[in-house]
């Protein structure tokens, strides 16, 4: 996972580049919460462009970060959902709660 922070817009982006399962999610969760606490962002975007596999652990990950970001007044958004990732999120209904957004480049 790579982290990008846009200070001006208080925008924190997590570029996920690993398989997201119960094993990998433990480290992702710890790092994401650290970064959210460190930067206190207004928006947190999870970018799934490079995710080749995700199971239901991804649902728990996003709901958990959604709650955590809410505590500090931030919002979570999702970007570049691949077909297989979307299939999992669709099933859980979290796309009704958490908006999708577009990001093109990293600065």
């Amino acid at each position: 996972m790579e982290t990008f922070f846009d200070e001006k817009n208080k925008l924190l982006i997590f570029r996920m580049n690993e398989e997201i399962d119960d094993y990998k999610v433990q480290e992702i969760r710890r790092r994401a919460d650290n970064e959210i606490q460190r930067y206190m962002p207004k928006r947190v975007i999870f970018d799934f462009d490079k995710v080749s596999f995700m199971d239901s652990a991804g649902i728990g990950l996003i709901i958990g970060r959604y709650k955590f970001a809410n505590l500090i007044g931030g919002k979570v958004e999702l970007a570049n959902l691949t077909n297989s990732v979307r299939k999992i999120f669709d099933m859980s209904g979290i796309l009704k709660l958490i908006p999708e957004t577009e990001i093109e480049q990293y600065s």
Binding site: E19, D21, Y23, V25, D55, L61
Partner: protein
């Protein structure tokens, strides 16, 4: 036209979550003999990942045990049995309910069985409290037949 395979494999590994990726990739490599589509393979990997995670987190509750996978290919069908000798499930109907989880503190979503049921053609759960749980799943691989049909149409054009 109907290619049929008869094959079987058995895999046993220690219930560590670092083995989840190994388990799903191994089953997918075995199932690849049926020429599944990319989407079918992704479905199989996801279902295996859910079942194996259940064995590790719920069956053994992160203690050390053995997770066993038997995979069979019969004609165009993948038949999977994924089992543990862990604590078992008290209420199977409840466990199958979407969003129901006994471990919300671990950020489990409670979607495991729902995902297995929607990604596979059939899912059966056998469980005895104190003895363990066995999940049987099947999935028909449609692609070979469809591809053959397409090839045939191309030849006759």
């Amino acid at each position: 036209m109907n290619k049929s395979f008869e094959n079987e494999m058995k895999l046993e590994f220690v219930s560590k979550s670092s083995n989840e990726s190994f388990a799903r990739v191994t089953v997918a490599a075995f199932a690849a003999q049926l020429d599944p589509t990319v989407e079918e393979l992704a479905d199989i990997k996801t279902a295996v990942s859910e079942a194996v995670t259940n064995c590790i987190i719920h069956g053994y509750e992160n203690k050390i045990g053995i997770v066993k996978i038997i995979a069979k290919l019969r004609k165009q069908e993948l038949i999977l049995e994924i089992s543990d000798k862990g604590k078992g499930i008290e209420d199977i109907e409840m466990a199958k309910e979407p969003l129901y989880t006994t471990k919300p503190n671990l950020e489990r979503s409670g979607m495991g069985f729902t995902i297995m049921e929607s990604f596979m053609d059939s899912v059966e759960i056998e469980s005895i409290v104190g003895l363990g749980t066995k999940i049987k799943m099947t999935k028909k691989i449609k692609s070979v037949e469809e591809e053959n049909k397409e090839d045939f149409t191309m030849l006759t054009k």
